[in-house]
Structure formats: structure tokens, C-alpha cells
């Protein structure tokens, strides 16, 4: 098994009155998009700043592409791109000049071409010669994302990247992240807006009060939660369907006109069996949807509180 691109082990960060991150261990492999989820103050931003070296660690190690932050910070900087949750830009530079600054700093070959590519990736080509101060917050956010992508880092740390984006921007960001995932980048992305992360995260790590509550692939987390929330819709034999569901020991059953939602404790095999029974007993099932793989559901069931 190849070494993970990003490996955090026993990370601890102390603030004067609080342990901001406490014994956090997490790995992100190539091609993973890992959502770092948690309420405000959970320690997501502190974790990202500690991984990038901007926040002092009390203990723990951070490795990027096999290079340790403490002993090889320069190697780590070449492989890591960090996008903070605010937009640090030079207001009096144009978007292209801003990117040129960082392209030079990273010694990016063929700067002009790469700057053009990154502007295109972040849908800012038309704003190439606009001053940063003239850009909207969302555009600045995208420009900082373009700056982060410039040196083509192996690992991307994105702290609340969609917070300033409009709905279209969020859709485009999702597409971009999926593209990055496909080319084998590791992405650790934080947000407290769970719907933002749904759809492109294949992994999630849930934090609360500095601690990692749980982490793994979305499917693994769904299974760990055990009880899943499901919804079923049918066309005929509603009474029979309800009888079968009650007989299978579902909980919190809520009926609707032609369907029901319920919680189910059983594993995937038991769930398959339940659906099979319904069909064999003549219930015409038109929709069968499990919400156990939904990030919001996982978060709510994880025990992490104080959501948003």
C-alpha cells in the first residue's frame, strides 16, 4: 500500500486557555478528497494552519509526500498548497500580477502559460487585468484558489473554500475538486456547511472541540453509524408494506401518502433482505433511498454537537 500523501499523527495544538487540537491522527491518500467537518470552534482551521506550519504544534508530526514538516519544511512547502478561509490579496495588483508574484516565488516554469491555466480553472480569465480590489469576495476567493493551484501541489488544504462563492461558483468548485481528485491530488477541505461537501468528498473526518470524533470513507462512516435513515415510496399495497416494515423491527416509522421513512439498525445484507421481502410480497416499490451515506446524517449521528 503506498504511503499516504498527507499523514497527520497525534497532532496537538495548545492555546492559552484551551487545547485547540487534541491528539488528531488522519491520513489522506492520493485521489482522496477528505472533508474536515465540525462546528465552529472545533479546530478545523487550527488543524489546517498547523499542517501548513503557520500554527505552532505542541506535539505530533505532519508528513506531506513523505517529508516531515519539522525537519524538511522547505520540501513540504513545495508539495503543499494552503488556501486560508479569508482572501489575502494585494489590492493594488491585477489578478495576473498577483499570480505572477507567487509563480515567481514558487519558481513555476513557463509562468505566463501556467497563470493563464489557473485563471481559466478558476473562471477568472476575463478578470486577468482587473485590480484585486475591484474583485468581489467570491472572485478573490477564486483568485486565492488559483494561487494555491499555481505550483501544482500534491496536497491541497482548502479552508472553507466555498464560503464566498455564489451557487454557480460552488458548482464549478465541485467540478474542479472532482477534476483534482481524478488527477490524483489529495485534498483536505474544511467546512461547517455540510451540503457544500456532499457529492465530492469520498472521505470525511469529524471534529468536535479539538478532537477527531471519527474518520474514514463516507461508506465506512455510514456503516459505523449502524442505524440508517431510509425512505421508501410505493404505488400499491401500502398497508402490506407498513406491516412488513413493522415486522422487520424498523424504528421511528413515519408514514406518508404513498411511502414512509424509517430508521433501520441492520447491516447492508439485512437491508437487502428487507427490500427483497417487500418486492416478493407484491409491494410495487418506486423509490428506495438510504440517507446513511449522507454527510449531514453522519455528522448528526456522530455525537458532534453544537452544529453551526
Amino acid at each position: 500500500m503506498p504511503a499516504p500523501l498527507l499523514a497527520i499523527e497525534h497532532l496537538r495544538v495548545d492555546f492559552p486557555e484551551v487545547v485547540a487540537v487534541n491528539d488528531l491522527s488522519l491520513t489522506v491518500e492520493a485521489g482522496d478528497v477528505c472533508g474536515l467537518i465540525g462546528p465552529n470552534g472545533a479546530g478545523k482551521t487550527t488543524t489546517m494552519r498547523a499542517v501548513s506550519g503557520l500554527q505552532e504544534r505542541t506535539r505530533g508530526s505532519v508528513r506531506v509526500g513523505g517529508h516531515e514538516l519539522a525537519s524538511e519544511p522547505e520540501e513540504l512547502k513545495k508539495r503543499l498548497g494552503f488556501m486560508p478561509d479569508f482572501c489575502p490579496v494585494y489590492d493594488q495588483l491585477t489578478a495576473a500580477e498577483f499570480l505572477d508574484h507567487f509563480a515567481r516565488a514558487h519558481d513555476v516554469p513557463d509562468r505566463t502559460k501556467r497563470i493563464g491555466e489557473c485563471l481559466e480553472l478558476t473562471w477568472l480569465t476575463e478578470k486577468r487585468d482587473a485590480l484585486c480590489e475591484e474583485l468581489s469576495r467570491g472572485m478573490k476567493q477564486r483568485l486565492v484558489l488559483a494561487k494555491t493551484l499555481l505550483p501544482d501541489p500534491q496536497v491541497l488544504l482548502l479552508d472553507e473554500p466555498a464560503s464566498g462563492l455564489d451557487p454557480l461558483g460552488r458548482i464549478e468548485l465541485r467540478k474542479l475538486l472532482l477534476k483534482l481528485r481524478d488527477v490524483g491530488k489529495s485534498v483536505l477541505i474544511s467546512s461547517h456547511i455540510l451540503t457544500e461537501l456532499s457529492g465530492f468528498c469520498n472521505k470525511a473526518a469529524i471534529m468536535e472541540r479539538g478532537k477527531l470524533v471519527m474518520s474514514g470513507t463516507i461508506a465506512e462512516l455510514g456503516q459505523k453509524m449502524g442505524r440508517r435513515r431510509l425512505s421508501v415510496k410505493w404505488r400499491h399495497a401500502g398497508e402490506k408494506a407498513l406491516q412488513i416494515l413493522k415486522g422487520a423491527g424498523v424504528k421511528n416509522l413515519e408514514t406518508a401518502a404513498q411511502g414512509a421513512t424509517f430508521e433501520f439498525d441492520g447491516d447492508a445484507e439485512a437491508l437487502d433482505g428487507l427490500l427483497k421481502t417487500l418486492v416478493l410480497e407484491g409491494v410495487r416499490v418506486t423509490e428506495w433511498r438510504g440517507s446513511g451515506d449522507d454527510l449531514e446524517q453522519i455528522f448528526l449521528q456522530s455525537g458532534a454537537r453544537e452544529l453551526m
Partner: protein, 511 residues
């Protein structure tokens, strides 16, 4: 990497040019040309002016040019760098640059040379006009390169200082306060025996004045004071070399500190040995400058300086020593949070860690340096004047320890409000006794000030004329009483640390 390829420099250059440089250059040109026109007008009709000859007129107009140039380059450049750095740190751009693979030295150099470009352009225009004035007035040719080298080196020196302050100051006001201290408060003392004050060489006032007075007959006292070679422990040194040498050596320490702070923002900017070395260099240079007043036989003036005790040079140096040490101790004193984190890493609450990291041990090292430096003034007369030496040294010990213990105690106890409480207690210990002495017309109360014993022992004519004076015994007792404050502070300081480290023991390290 060449500075012209340095991305930080290039970006600063872009920002300066975008904000506009033409108006600034025109202002500098207008000021310079006005002065040049003044000289030309003098040549056209000297009767309208009150100069003794073309050389004096030329010197006057050139002095104005370099005055404006100094204002623009040194004070303007200092303020510009400080503002750019504090703004960029606040905006997160400093961190963005630190996250690039650029070496920290490149980042520092980029801001150092790039941020004050507008001021450099203005300085260059004024320097060019100054050259024309020097040539037209047929002034000694050494005047122009000599003064220009000094002005530009001072601009670079204070620019580097601004970079460092910009990196450590929490707020721009902190930097502005330091600037006020450097450019307003310190030069106030420069005019007391100018050849003997170190501040005249760090800000190269003496070296520049020396260039102007070169070849002048030393008829007036003012020319006498501002001409001739200063001596370091009796060794004559050209003032330009002394100024450039001091700025270069201290500049190396500032450069190392700025680069270190850029590479790792969590470490104190100065290492302990660097603080001791800087303190030693400055202090021995100062004591070297005044050594000729007593030739090691303080308070007996040396033959050529019979009026050495008319001006309280040694008390001024004593107060300067206290000020310098307090600034260095504040710079090096670690944030208690850092020591707590180190204790957390090690998983113990051992007080020895505090002693090895705290600036208390550094205060003792600085005291040793200061004591040796002071000893050079009275080495030959120590057997009769040991009490004066003991009072002055004891006073330094008390002040250094009080300032460092107070600072660390207040940081532990009051956190963000610490500086306010440090100022309050220093006011109570140093200034309040003088106010009370004035209010109640009781001079003895003023002697209780933490500043008093050393200054009085080195300045009071009764004491200097009679080293067995009972007044000295009283001052020795005051020093001992002040040490009682040190002991009390030490106990409070130790308790605060124990309280903090007790929490560390409760939180053992996790594997």
C-alpha cells in the same frame, strides 16, 4: 537570487509604482531645486545674504538638502517599511509569502529594499541636487560621498530595524512608539558633549557634522565640539568608520533576527548570546567614548578634561544602560505560553525549564557585561571609590531584575493587559517617588526611586568629592531595600509559574 529577480521586491516595486512616484519625485526635486536656486541667487548678488563666503553659503544650502534627504530616507523609509509589514501581516500576505519556498532572507530583503522605493527615489534626486550644490560652491569633494554614504547606510540600518519591529510588533502603534524613541528622545541627548555620545554615531550626526567642519579653524566651541576624532579607550577612530562600523555590526544582528523570525515566527527574534553581544558592543563602545574623560580614575577628571564632571556623562550612560537593557530583555523574554508548550511537550512541570528559558538569567548576564563596562571607568580608583561602583552596579542589578520579573509576572498574570501593568508598576517604582518628593517638598522621597541610587552615586558632587560620604551608605541601603522588591517579585513570579506548570503536570503527554 538577484534582488531585481526577488518576487517580494518586484511586487513591492509594482505596488509603489502603482500608487504613483512622480508626485513624490517632483516634490523632492522642487525642494532641492529651490535650495539650488538660493545658492545661485547668492552667487548673483551675495549682498542679499548673510554668509561670510561662498563656502559657507554652499554648506548651508547643502545642509538643508541632506536634512530633507535624511528626513525622507531615514524617517520616511522607516515608517513606510513598518506600515507595509504590519499591514501585510494583518492581511495574511506575510504568511502567504512564508508558505512559498522562498528563502526567508529573500523575503526580508524584498521588503527591506522594496517597500521604501519611493523614498529612495526622492533621496536619489536630493542627492543629485546636493552634488550640484557641492560642485558649484567648491566645497571639499569628500563632503558629498561621505555624507551620502552615511545617510544611505543609516536609512538601510533603520530600514532593517523597521523590518524587525514590523515582524514583532502586535500593532503599528508599537512600532511608532519605538520610532519616536529612536528619532526624538535619543537625539535629545546627542547635543550634550557630542563627541562622547554613542547616539551621535548610530545616527551619524557627529560624522556628518565632522565633514562639514573639516578644515575649519576650531575657534568656536560649537566647532570644537563637533570636530576632531572620537576616541575609543584612547584610540582615535575616524567618525565615519565608527558610525559605519557600528551600523554594520548591529545591522548583522538585526538581519539575523529578522531572517530567524521569518523562518520561524514562533521563536524569539534574538538569541541570548546575540542579545549579550549587542549589549556588550554598544555598551563598551559608549564607555570607550567617554573613557578619555577620567582615564579609569573616575571621579577624578583626566588632565585634558578638567571639566569632565560638569556634565553628568556617566549618569546619562547609566540611565542609557538601563533603557537599552530593558529593551533587550523585553525582546528576548519569551512568551510564557511558549514555555508552557515546551513543558507540555516534555510532559513535566519542572521549574528548571523556566529558569533556562526566562530572561532572568539573561538579566544577570547583561549585568555582568554592564558591571565590567562600568569598571573600566574606575578601574584605577576602585580602592577608594568602591562604594560608588557598588551602588551603581547594585542599582543596575535591581533594575534589570525588577524589569524582567515584572514583565514576566505581568504576562503570566494579566496576559494581554500585561504591558499596561508593567508600565504602571515601573511608574510607581521609578517616577512616583519624584512626584511625591515635589508635592511634599521632601527630596529624600525622590531618592527612593528605582532610578535614583545609581544616578545619584555617579552625579552628586558631594559624593564625588568625598567617596566616604554618609550619603553613599544611605544609597547602599536604598539599593538593598530595592533588592527586597526584587525578592518579593521573584516569589510572586515563581508562584505564577508553579501555578501554570501545575496544569501541565495534570495533562501528561499523549503518544
Amino acid at each position: 537570487m538577484n534582488i531585481t529577480e526577488n518576487p517580494v521586491f518586484l511586487t513591492q516595486k509594482r505596488l509603489v509604482h502603482r500608487a504613483g512616484v512622480l508626485a513624490a519625485i517632483l516634490i523632492a526635486a522642487l525642494i532641492g531645486l529651490s535650495l539650488l536656486c538660493g545658492l545661485i541667487a547668492y552667487f548673483a548678488d551675495p549682498r542679499d545674504f548673510n554668509f561670510s563666503g561662498p563656502q559657507e553659503a554652499g554648506k548651508m544650502f547643502y545642509a538643508w538638502v541632506i536634512g530633507v534627504e535624511t528626513l525622507v530616507l531615514v524617517i520616511g523609509g522607516f515608517s513606510r517599511i513598518l506600515k507595509v509589514l504590519t499591514d501585510e501581516r494583518k492581511a495574511g500576505l506575510w504568511d502567504s509569502n512564508r508558505l512559498t519556498p522562498l528563502p526567508p532572507s529573500q523575503i526580508v530583503a524584498g521588503y527591506w529594499f522594496g517597500a521604501p522605493l519611493r523614498e529612495f527615489y526622492m533621496g536619489a534626486i536630493l542627492a543629485a541636487i546636493g552634488l550640484v550644490i557641492v560642485v558649484l560652491a567648491r566645497l571639499p569633494l569628500a563632503l558629498w560621498p561621505g555624507t551620502q554614504i552615511l545617510i544611505f547606510s543609516t536609512a538601510l540600518f533603520f530600514g532593517l530595524l523597521a523590518v524587525l519591529i514590523g515582524l514583532v510588533a502586535q500593532r503599528p502603534q508599537g512600532g511608532a512608539a519605538f520610532a519616536a524613541l529612536a528619532f526624538v528622545f535619543l537625539p535629545m541627548f546627542s547635543f550634550i558633549m557630542p563627541k562622547f555620545m554613542l547616539t551621535n554615531f548610530l545616527l551619524p550626526v557627529y560624522a556628518i557634522a565632522n565633514f562639514f567642519n573639516a578644515g575649519q579653524p576650531p575657534e568656536t566651541a560649537s566647532v570644537q565640539d563637533w570636530s576632531g576624532l572620537p576616541e575609543i579607550f584612547g584610540l582615535p577612530v575616524p567618525p565615519i568608520l565608527l558610525s559605519l562600523g557600528l551600523q554594520f555590526v548591529i545591522g548583522i544582528f538585526l538581519w539575523r533576527a529578522a531572517v530567524r523570525k521569518t523562518a520561524n515566527a514562533f521563536h524569539p527574534p534574538l538569541l541570548r548570546w546575540e542579545a549579550v553581544a549587542m549589549f556588550g558592543i554598544l555598551l563598551f563602545a559608549q564607555h570607550g567614548l567617554i573613557w578619555g574623560l577620567w582615564h579609569g580614575q573616575f571621579p577624578a577628571p583626566s588632565g585634558s578634561e578638567s571639566n569632565a564632571n560638569d556634565v553628568p556623562m556617566l549618569p546619562i550612560v547609566h540611565a542609557g544602560t538601563i533603557l537599552l537593557a530593558t529593551i533587550l530583555l523585553a525582546f528576548v523574554s519569551p512568551d510564557p505560553e511558549r514555555i508552557r508548550i515546551e513543558a507540555l511537550r516534555a510532559g513535566d512541570g519542572n521549574l528548571r525549564r523556566v529558569f533556562s528559558r526566562s530572561a532572568v538569567s539573561l538579566a544577570l548576564a547583561l549585568l555582568a557585561v554592564a558591571a565590567v563596562a562600568l569598571f573600566t571607568q574606575c578601574a584605577a580608583s576602585i580602592s577608594t571609590n568602591w562604594k560608588i561602583y557598588a551602588v551603581a552596579t547594585g542599582n543596575l542589578l535591581d533594575f534589570f531584575l525588577v524589569s524582567v520579573l515584572l514583565l514576566e509576572f505581568c504576562r503570566l498574570r494579566f496576559r494581554r493587559r500585561a504591558l499596561g501593568f508593567v508600565a504602571l508598576w515601573l511608574f510607581v517604582l521609578c517616577v512616583l517617588p519624584f512626584i511625591l518628593a515635589g508635592v511634599f517638598s521632601e527630596l529624600a522621597v525622590g531618592r527612593l526611586s528605582l532610578l535614583s541610587p545609581g544616578v545619584l552615586a555617579l552625579a552628586d558632587h558631594d559624593i564625588l568629592n568625598d567617596p566616604t560620604s554618609s550619603e553613599l551608605n544611605y544609597l547602599l541601603l536604598t539599593v538593598l531595600a530595592h533588592f527586597g522588591i526584587v525578592v518579593l517579585l521573584f516569589v510572586a513570579w515563581r508562584n505564577q509559574w508553579q501555578r501554570l506548570l501545575a496544569k501541565v503536570i495534570l495533562a501528561p503527554p499523549q503518544k
